[in-house]
Symmetry: D2
Subunit: 434 residues, 4 copies
């Protein structure tokens, strides 16, 4: 989908070293990262839009540092660090691995230059190719760590795009990451339909052979009451009705912290919405575009999602309700691979099973991000990956329009603070069975 000069530079050597499915996935992932960066200039790649975002160049380097640190150094004999200073520059938050560039100052790293970071990627990719070439029978721990590295890089692919959107949205010229694509005229979004699920004991969480994050396990039983789930995501049209009904001015609809947040931040609509001459627009990776009323609402905080649900007389689902429902839906949807780069209206007909469970927007759940019963973070630096964030955040499920499809599972748990909005975050309503 995306094309750019940068995308080509790694092809030759990689194709030579690819000798297995794992290797293919590894280098395809590495290549895709470069492809996603291709529309950007070096200038675009160095700047940090805000504290919680990171520059593209930093993402390029950090994902590389990740392989160097967790794969090459322990597993490749004689591996030479590309640059010792990069541990300081590109360690994100691993306390086990020492001091690091403060997160709000990642955007000050005009050096190392983009060229040097690309050379770093090549250096590491070559070493990975060497490692995989040597290893006819890779030990399971190496295989697992490579999987972690691939999945880690996929997460940063999503972050790259959302961080670029944050940067371009803050620019008065409202640049587009790519030109707008023609869209089919959407059918008006049909009314919500509700799907009922029976109560009972369900198994949730990940188990089995495939890769999953530590926070998706242990697989365990949960006891659910009967519940009802909307068959599609909440749309911009529905959100507009909430705005028009004074949703953002009615204190009693909001959680106390939510009301404090919208007062403090002066929020009156989702992030990236702008009203000009009575018409609503939304900043997107295709620049400022008229709001697509039938598309799912995105860039809303937990506070807003919760207030909308209360205004609707409904509630948000728990992460387990979502997971149980998702097990009945095909794991397909508007992911990064569709190249839409925006949430899209539900396209298939209502069919009695939940639609848009995957892709489009991450779905806020009522569930706080906490450990599953029996969870213990792994030993060592990688144990910091997920476990130390288990306070103060909420779980989101299902992936978004900028998530790589093969990154997602039914048991996948994403997590953000209730005030955060810059990711593609939306919602689906739930309720009790009457």
């Amino acid at each position: 989908m995306l094309m750019g000069g940068l995308a080509l530079i790694l092809d030759t050597q990689l194709s030579a070293s690819a000798h297995s499915a794992m290797s293919d996935r590894l280098f395809e992932t590495r290549r895709l990262t470069i492809e996603l960066a291709a529309p950007l200039s070096a200038e675009d790649m160095v700047v940090q839009a805000m504290e919680e975002a990171s520059p593209t160049k930093w993402h390029l380097a950090h994902t590389t540092w990740f392989f160097e640190t967790f794969v090459l150094t322990p597993y490749l004999n004689g591996y030479q660090l590309f640059d010792e200073a990069f541990n300081y520059c590109f360690n994100s938050y691993y306390e086990h691995l020492g001091a690091r560039q403060p997160r709000p100052k990642r955007g000050l790293l005009t050096r190392p230059s983009l060229d040097r970071v690309l050379a770093y990627r090549q250096h590491v990719d070559l070493a990975l190719a060497q490692l995989l070439g040597e290893q006819t029978e890779a030990p399971p721990a190496l295989i697992h760590t490579l999987e972690v590295g691939i999945n880690h890089e996929q997460q940063h692919q999503e972050l790259m795009l959302t961080d670029i959107l944050a940067l371009f949205a803050a620019n008065p010229l409202k640049p587009a990451y790519r030109p707008p694509q023609p869209r089919s005229v959407p059918a008006p979004s049909e009314p919500l339909r509700w799907i009922d699920f029976a109560g009972g004991v369900y198994e949730v969480g990940h188990e089995g052979e495939g890769f999953a994050w530590d926070n998706e396990g242990p697989r365990h039983d949960v006891l659910l009451r009967p519940f009802r789930l909307a068959d599609r995501l909440v749309t911009n049209r529905e959100w507009l009705a909430f705005v028009a009904d004074g949703g953002y001015e009615t204190a009693t609809l909001w959680l106390s912290d939510g009301w404090a947040a919208i007062m403090r931040e002066n929020w009156h609509a989702p992030l990236y919405w702008e009203s000009h001459d009575g018409e609503w627009f939304e900043m997107s990776l295709e620049g400022l575009q008229p709001l697509n009323l039938d598309a799912p609402v995105a860039h809303v905080s937990y506070y807003e999602a919760d207030a909308f649900a209360r205004w609707s007389g409904k509630r948000l689902p728990t992460e387990f309700e979502w997971e149980v429902a998702a097990a009945t839906a095909p794991k397909q949807g508007n992911f990064l691979g569709t190249a839409a780069l925006r949430p899209r209206p539900a396209e298939d007909e209502p069919n009695g099973s939940p639609r848009q469970m995957f892709g489009d927007v991450w779905e806020w759940t009522q569930s706080a991000y906490l450990p599953f019963p029996g969870y213990r973070a792994p030993e060592g630096a990688l144990g910091e990956y997920n476990g130390k964030f288990m306070v103060g955040q909420h779980v989101l499920r299902g992936g978004s329009c900028v998530t790589p499809q093969d990154h997602i599972r039914t048991s996948y748990r994403n997590f953000f603070y209730p005030h955060q909005r810059w990711q593609f975050l939306g919602l689906r309503l739930a309720s009790e069975v009457a």
Copy 2:
């Protein structure tokens, strides 16, 4: 236990009007509030120690405003408001009831004076007596609202004492709320014993005739795995070992937000601990006292409790584990009624059932403060009491040494933000069954 001139002023009229158990409890609660304030001067009562605390005078007035607003205005014909301006002054957070004095500025209310607030209490108490005298058969809604008012005032009794402690702790003279009491020499705290609980489906939450807060229901089933709970609270002696082992300097023991908090706030020990010449002291309602090593640790944040548990190789219990265990323990302990005003060492012998489940300190649980399945906040202003705080906080269970004993239930859910420390907050360890 506590004596003071203020305590006597309401006796005459109240005893005359008391005609029932409800009435007795109501006026006894009202009287106890005054008794608790008795050791304080008007100066002590007007000042606000910090944003999250409130002045004693404000507590005295706010609890009175609560009865005026929710009981007298709707239920007593012809009731005259004591002062219309008091709705602004003493409304805490009810958006349904209009604008109010900003929370961080409650301490600026030198007017109305203490005398006028005491007159307000008398005015409202007399009207309550009149209402109860009239009502030979009070409607259930009135009875319920009276219960809410009593329980509300009990919560503020606890807050009064913790807010006074915060105020006195900030005073360089380290004043005592009351003179130190002689204590029995504690036996050295015996080693922790572990009590195992079987997995399975348990009923939790409140149901039945007695009063409970809306957030304790609906009663519902939960599915628990086998778990193991410490038979007593974590002690100061154990906490000192954590400090001595560098607990506050070891990033990898902490949740990410916790580490950020202790770095930002420069925490090196529980709130109110002070080290002088190598000896540890603790500020208490009896002034600055040598640390009682066998008493339960108090005034620790969720972050600290979690880090301690990790350092111990254990974890915090969930609120449901706690509730299931508590059902096996007598609902007695070191509450406000013991007049200890401080956590005490476990006094009874290890006996195979959990001790100190009630009183001493609120116990942090791993559970975020969220609605139970099927929970809906009541309509109207009282619906704001609990529901709108259901984000970002954690559940604590069991009550503390400044909680009135009859305020507590096995299903009682208290909640604080993970950084808060000024309440009597401690912990009990849990773990999986090996």
Copy 3:
């Protein structure tokens, strides 16, 4: 003028020990402080309205600590400190004298109680009486330090009243420090008249026998160009015209820092102005009162004074222009002694000399608060009194309606930061001679 029970308690012993003019002034000053506090309750006296204000009780104690520290300890043999902890509690900012209660937390000192602070005053007053009784020929250094102590206490008398005003203004009940007094109907304020002053070399600053602060010297020559000064202060009526003309919405009228301040703080009028139903009111020591249009405007920052002057096509005077003009005016005016407690319209007829130079409001000058040529701060702790504040502030001249008259001199230099407003701060226009 003001009467209260507290005012009487020191009379007996003081009259016995008064033996000289100095002694009379000392104890009269000490008495006046108590008289000024008399309308206040203990509650009113303990609370701190905001960071830059102090509680009345703190003023009562701090002025006493000042005599204890700088007079009694060095000069009275065998003097016993009243309480050693008071150095920590009531040292304001003297680094020479060690650690102290942080300024923003002076309002947390509910202990020592007001009674104990009053006993402190008595203890120190008795010791001062003893010292003065012994000293038939007091050494000049003692005499000077006593003068410093008297003048210091006078400054705090003014601060007490402005800090109380700040406290009551923040109270939704808008209490009055004293009941409103009847006022004569003011004549409409006549147009400004301009008074010309010749250029040339003038002597400024203090010299001679009487007391002056170190920052008023050395007396030195300044070279002035011819200038023109308004014969009265800017009035509320004139300020209203500025408001009505969009003064607070016109960026180009403001200093850059001033515009930033009014945007940040959302200022649209002087501090303490409130508009109700199209009519303007002003919070005062007599409570919320209709704005007196002919009275001088008060409670404006330097930024506002400067913007008003620019809007008027004029400028603020320098401190030396003011001083030269003031030398031609009688040192009388609406000081604390008139008991007006508010700025008053100019009462005397225009007479070709500047009116209202003294009293009513401190007058902002264009002059930064900097040392005079040859200034050196005295040695020791008292050297911190004025010198260490010589950066970032502006000089104000002339005293206000809450300044004791005998505290003021033509050379007197007060100083505040350009954003501050809670004192009685106003302005007089100046300009070049055409």
Copy 4:
């Protein structure tokens, strides 16, 4: 001195259009800006080091916008704006000219790209060449505005270098703007010599034909007392003695605001000093270099300069003392033209006249930045250039090692806030004549 590919791109058309001294200076200034940027990558040019600094690209565009707005639009018939959106992007602080990119967010402007900004420069340079080619007799107002534009761009040349230093100092790799140059071994700095100046009336401020900023006038008489000035700047060696003597730990040496600043910011040495293994280094445009003990100290705030002077038993000079002394010294020194890019030790022998008055470091004076008598800001947007900053700042004199030499005059007044340090700011001692 500095070489780079970017420096060449404008040469052709400029040499053709140069037809006069003014034109030469204009295009030489424009060329120099590009030359100064030449060592930087596009990445280096887009990032903003901190709020008070600006990105190089922004400087390149803003100086161009300045000519477009103040010269081309009013004076060149038919001039077409390069891009209307640039007024928003590159207006710095001119309220007359409408809304603008917030100063702290200048670094978010990854678009317009560097290429487009360079095209903007070409577009404007060509139009300027056309304007100058047409104007055989340019009107005085145009000539004056061109001068303003040249001087404005010179100021930004200095800011570009100091802002780049700030950016590289914040980078863990400590990049160098250019490679270190060999230096002659400095002679040990000889002791300070003092030069006496007589008191009396002196004329100060600018008058005459040459260009000066509005804030340098009106020229006027000042009356000075005899004073004494050090014949050279304070050195790093002397500053080290201050550090070693506990200067940064001794509260009584500091202005109150200064002490608060160093406590809050945790300052223990000048900005850019770093101590490694007991040796001091200084970050410079040549990267991290051993501290040159004989060079003038730089990157100190007013607070630090003032504390150092107090520790020395001396004081800072006033801006008029400085100006009177500077009139006796040749206007030459270590400016940008020496290409040292760092302060250098005094090289010439003590000779009874003040040395290092020009160049090396801006010299803090005791004088607040205030209008000269009779000053009025010009009408219109350019009137905002200097006048609206006349509060809260101090005057610095003499230029620095990154100031273009022909930008400076004896009457030149620079100004910064007392806490600022990122410019080349140093000091020279003064004192009274004994």
